[in-house]
């Protein structure tokens, strides 16, 4: 797992996945980099309900509220990440953009099976980065594409977890 700049992406190994790591409150979150459309300062993002950039409209997504995280979004390192899943687009305010990282599949871990609640929809897995635990955010959930009715039935989730208790790489 290495921190890298935006350039030079063609030299990375085929099997890696790229994530933009951000911090909201005390939580470090990883967003699949393929969906990142831009990173704006608070002045650039403005204070409207939507952000328009390069002809696309991104509605504000209150990630901190959705995750019940206490966050201070007034600091100088606050940024707004413009994100698209292809189906939905959103502007997520974060306290800090940590950087882009390349992750090999065996560095991604599933969320431990003891986490049995809604967080299984919130996060696709986790990884250890430097001294931190980084949670891999599910962009579809963050942008409101998953309703509770669409969530996998509990029995199905449990069956899947038992079948692959410590499967590595699945989360990337």
């Amino acid at each position: 797992m290495s921190l890298r700049g935006r350039q030079n992406s063609t030299t990375r190994p085929l099997q890696t996945a790229s994530f933009l790591v951000v911090r909201v409150g005390l939580s470090y979150l990883a967003l699949p980099a393929t969906g990142v459309r831009g990173v704006l300062t608070s002045e650039e993002a403005g204070h409207e309900q939507t952000v328009t950039e390069a002809g696309s409209v991104y509605r504000q997504v209150d990630l901190a509220r959705q995750l019940s995280i206490v966050a201070d979004l007034s600091g100088p390192e606050m940024r707004t990440v413009l994100y698209s899943t292809g189906r939905s687009q959103g502007a997520m305010a974060v306290e800090q953009v940590v950087g882009l990282i390349d992750v090999e599949p065996n560095e991604c871990l599933p969320l431990p099976a003891q986490f049995r609640g809604d967080e299984r929809n919130w996060f696709g897995g986790m990884m250890l980065y430097q001294d931190q635990l980084v949670l891999i955010l599910n962009p579809s959930w963050a942008l409101g594409e998953l309703s509770s009715a669409e969530a996998a039935p509990r029995g199905q989730v449990e069956q899947s977890m038992r079948a692959t208790p410590v499967t590595l790489g699945e989360s990337c």
């Binding site: 939580s27 995280i69 431990p112 003891q114 986490f115 609640g117 967080e119 250890l128 949670l135 208790p165």
Partner: protein, 155 residues
């Protein structure tokens, strides 16, 4: 990091007695079968995880492993006591799990199966309760800790 009781060296009859680890959480003495305990070590700082699972809201990072933390003290409406606090590593059915326990070093005891009463007396997954010394001690079913309350929440 365990203290052995005086009778621990005695040869045990098959299935007629259990070896248990006696520990305390917020001053409440509890026990667990030794096979359900992976070890005891100093408690270290945890990493909070946004979660909707009752009492599971953090992860403890140790070396290259990440273990979920079960907040047994909160479930018992207690606050862990002493310094330094200890980590009880649990062999849970869903994988290794960490519990923060009081600073009192756990001890090993042997209890006769016949002396185990069916009711734990606490609202917690238990294998029964037993009298150790002068204390009524609940034997916590660590392997399935959290499962019944989660089922109740989602029912």
């Amino acid at each position: 990091m365990l203290r052995a009781s005086r009778g621990q060296h005695q040869v045990q009859g098959a299935k007629r007695s259990w070896n248990v680890v006696v520990f305390s959480v917020g001053g409440i003495r509890l026990a667990a079968r030794t096979e359900d305990v992976g070890g005891v070590s100093p408690w270290t700082q945890t990493i909070q995880v946004p979660s909707g699972t009752p009492f599971v809201r953090a992860i403890l990072k140790r070396d290259n492993r990440a273990m979920p933390v079960y907040d047994l003290a909160e479930r018992l409406n207690r606050t862990v006591q002493g310094d330094p606090l200890l980590c009880l590593e649990v062999r849970h059915l869903d994988g290794p799990m960490a519990i923060c326990i009081d600073a009192d070093v756990p001890s090993l005891e042997t209890v006769e199966v016949a002396a185990i009463r069916s009711s734990g007396g606490r609202d917690i997954e238990s294998l029964g309760s037993v009298t150790i010394g002068e204390h009524d001690v609940t034997i916590v079913a660590l392997q399935r800790l959290g499962r019944s309350i989660q089922d109740a929440v989602t029912r």
